[in-house]
């Protein structure tokens, strides 16, 4: 069997459903793959490790990929895990922020620190506010706590399937402004990236085929698949993951290997307009279809 090292973007959570299920149900093994899954604490590490040849595949975020490529990391998107944005502009449901326009003069927390400021700029412009209408605060590890404790008035970078449930369980209702409804082009929240110089397309194709199978199983058998997922670790069997599981299912990419050229061209153009990238990389330099002959 071929050994594959896969780095997740963060800790194991329902977003990684297809990967975990494929592993548990033996779909990887059926593709003659032996997958070693590593969960890092900092989501900016995995793409670097792939670029440095220390891992074969990494789960990363589409917006990040555009920036990485401009910084010269030898990376390409090879597949999709979550095919829609999960990102929210999250506020308190019973707070004073009824629309993003109410954020004028307020603080907005963010975490990863890549494109959040640009995203926020687009959302503000969409709501008729200038880019510098809010103060951006990096809150790193604590998106929902900083919001719940009132340190910031909104956070960007929280996921609609996860942080929203987390707040509800803590007894604080949150409200999500979906970014794609506020002036942002739609994008793939979670993607697989590989090293453009050394990748083995055949192996990746087999990997994606296994996750595709797992996705089908999840959609066909939501409860059984939850059991499979939850059985892998004691820490996963809790209320939050159970709720997030249900909310994540409709977001999994049904065709992980499928390539949407327009999506990547549009987002590249968006980043260029926001002056986050100096020029526009052609889509062929961002993503490929590993199943193409």
């Amino acid at each position: 069997a071929d050994d594959v090292t896969l780095m997740l973007d963060w800790f194991v959570n329902p977003d990684h459903g297809p990967i975990i299920v494929a592993q548990e149900m033996g779909y990887f093994a059926a593709q003659d793959l032996n997958v070693n899954i590593i969960a890092p604490a900092d989501p900016s590490d995995p793409p670097k490790m792939v670029a440095a040849g220390k891992a074969d595949l990494a789960v990363s975020y589409q917006p990040q990929l555009h920036l990485h490529i401009h910084e010269g990391l030898p990376l390409l998107r090879v597949g999709t895990l979550i095919a829609t944005p999960l990102n929210c502009l999250l506020t308190l449901a019973d707070g004073p922020i009824k629309t993003p326009a109410d954020l004028a003069g307020k603080k907005v927390g963010f975490s990863v620190g890549g494109v959040e400021e640009a995203m926020m700029g687009a959302i503000l412009r969409h709501n008729g506010l200038p880019v510098d209408a809010v103060e951006m605060v990096n809150v790193n590890w604590s998106l929902s706590p900083s919001l719940m404790s009132g340190q910031v008035d909104a956070v960007i970078g929280a996921y609609r399937n996860f942080e929203l449930n987390q707040m509800q369980i803590e007894g604080v209702e949150g409200k999500c402004f979906f970014v794609e409804e506020h002036g942002l082009p739609a994008y793939d929240e979670l993607i697989y990236v590989a090293n453009s110089d050394t990748m083995d397309t055949d192996m990746i194709a087999r990997f994606l085929a296994a996750t595709e199978k797992a996705t089908q199983y999840i959609i066909n058998h939501p409860d059984e698949s939850w059991q499979v997922f939850a059985a892998t670790s004691a820490e996963l069997r809790d209320e939050l993951n159970a709720r997030a599981w249900a909310d994540t299912i409709p977001r999994f990419a049904l065709r992980p290997a499928a390539m949407d050229v327009g999506r990547y061209a549009t987002f590249e153009a968006f980043l260029h307009a926001a002056q986050l990238v100096p020029d526009q990389t052609p889509v062929s330099g961002i993503t490929i279809d590993v199943t193409a002959p």
């Binding site: 963060w10 800790f11 959570n13 590593i38 969960a39 890092p40 604490a41 900092d42 590490d45 670097k48 490790m49 440095a52 220390k54 590890w141 604590s142 929902s144 706590p145 719940m148 404790s149 987390q166 369980i169 803590e170 004691a234 820490e235 809790d238 939050l240 993951n241």
Partner: protein, 251 residues
């Protein structure tokens, strides 16, 4: 006696913690009350124990290696004025770079296993041990220096028979600091990338907003550290007593 003191200290700590919770009214997802944490700890005792043992091994390895490295460096610096002039600023410089920023580098070189955590613990204690020991090595009484000069001491022998014994109390101080920092190093290493250890457990718990489990891991880590500090403190006392010649007095 000693045990009663510790028990009292623990009670004091718990009381002030509970007081803090009640006083500030901090919500449980930011600062859970002691009782809640105790429940979480009991509930997850197996997981915590497993991860704690991993961290403990990393810490001990890091402490031993870091001390050795620090001792050797301090001796080198004290032996050669040139080394001291050139290397000491470099040393401070490297120490000034938060190890966190170097984490990807370390994982690149040492992988996701125990190696990178031990290296991180070593890096973090290296400086305090080196600095404290070096201070002791260079602060030798002028009279003893004079004596050694007239006796025709070689610099290595002067190091071995005078400077090193003279620096043992300083080394003790350094070791006591190291005992506190080594666990932090290991945990930072685990934060960067791990699938085991208290640091991993803490981040995992934090990422899942299980703040009570996070605090439970934190407490276990702190207990581990205090135990280490007490042990190393005894060792440091012996070093000081040896160097001041009082070794036989309190056996």
């Amino acid at each position: 006696m000693r045990a009663r003191d510790i028990a009292l200290a623990v009670l004091l700590g718990l009381a002030s913690w509970q007081g803090l919770v009640m006083l500030t009214g901090a919500p449980h997802f930011i600062l859970p009350a002691p009782w809640r944490v105790a429940q979480a700890a009991y509930h997850s005792r197996a997981v915590i124990a497993e991860n704690a043992s991993v961290t403990a091994i990393e810490v001990l390895l890091g402490l031993v290696l870091g001390t050795l490295l620090g001792v050797v460096t301090a001796i080198q610096l004290a032996l050669s004025k040139t080394a001291e002039r050139l290397l000491l600023p470099v040393l401070v410089f490297t120490q000034a770079v938060p190890v966190f920023a170097l984490a990807p580098l370390l994982t690149l070189w040492f992988g996701y296993g125990m190696g990178s955590k031990v290296v991180m613990a070593v890096l973090i204690i290296y400086f305090p041990v080196t600095a404290a020991f070096h201070d002791g090595l260079t602060r030798v009484d002028q009279g003893l220096r004079d004596l050694a000069v007239t006796m025709g001491a070689g610099k290595y022998r002067f190091m071995r028979h005078v400077q090193i014994p003279n620096a043992l109390p300083g080394l003790g101080t350094g070791l006591k600091l190291a005992a506190v920092y080594a666990p932090i190093g290991a945990v930072i290493g685990e934060w960067v990338g791990a699938s085991k250890g208290l640091g991993y457990l803490m981040l995992l718990a934090n990422g899942r907003a299980k703040i009570d489990l996070m605090f439970a891991s934190l407490i276990v880590l702190a207990v581990l550290t205090v135990a280490l500090h007490i042990t190393v403190g005894h060792l440091a006392d012996r070093l000081t007593r040896y160097a001041t010649g009082a070794a036989e007095l309190n056996p």
